[in-house]
Symmetry: C2
Subunit: 118 residues, 2 copies
């Protein structure tokens, strides 16, 4: 998925989550990942999320937030904290989370429509 | 690939490039993408790069830089600018580039070794 975020003159925050999946437990993992997107998107200040993973299990998920306080509040939600713990015990062999302040953005969209999505 | 970046107390910069590949031209695309990693990693201030793409062609690449000036210098390199133009004409149906200042990071690594990489 790709997402729309505010205009370039508005600073907002990004959580860059780079992760390597362990083998197995795909069903429980997928269900929890979906639930976290559903739950996170109801949080105050949530702006959007982008996520992809290749066949070798390397994933990058970036979520966008209006303020640093908003993303810290999401980190503390108990169901989310439980999912993070499960991630460390069962689902990820390694990950790095980076908190960043987005200062500029620019986008391109082709007039052609022959992409994988269409 | 995943990458190591400086300690959490050192601010650095990230370029978050989210993109949707168009269909086709995979060989030329892959060769150019590899060349850009090779060339970019020789630039002053380059800290690392993380990149993944799913089967639907959705890719996220995040490159890390010591300073904003360093990432702007890379954007201007002529061979890189030519690749960006080719990206717009042939390779991407859409993309968003975001420039962000990383303020914190934390990492996890499992003691297990049953991941896709091993």
């Amino acid at each position: 998925m790709m997402t729309r975020t505010p205009d370039a003159d508005v600073d907002y925050w990004a959580v860059i989550f780079t992760n390597q999946r362990s083998l197995g437990d795909d069903e429980a993992y997928e269900a929890t990942a979906e639930r976290m997107v559903e739950l996170g998107s109801t949080m105050p200040g949530f702006l959007g999320i982008e996520s992809t993973r290749n066949a070798q299990g390397l994933g990058i998920t970036v979520s966008y937030w209006r303020s640093e306080d908003d993303l810290l509040a999401w980190k503390q939600v108990s169901e989310h904290a439980a999912a993070q713990a499960k991630g460390r015990s069962d689902w990820y062999s390694r990950y790095t989370t980076r908190i960043a302040r987005v200062t500029r953005e620019y986008s391109f969209e082709s007039s052609d429509t022959d992409d994988h999505d269409s």
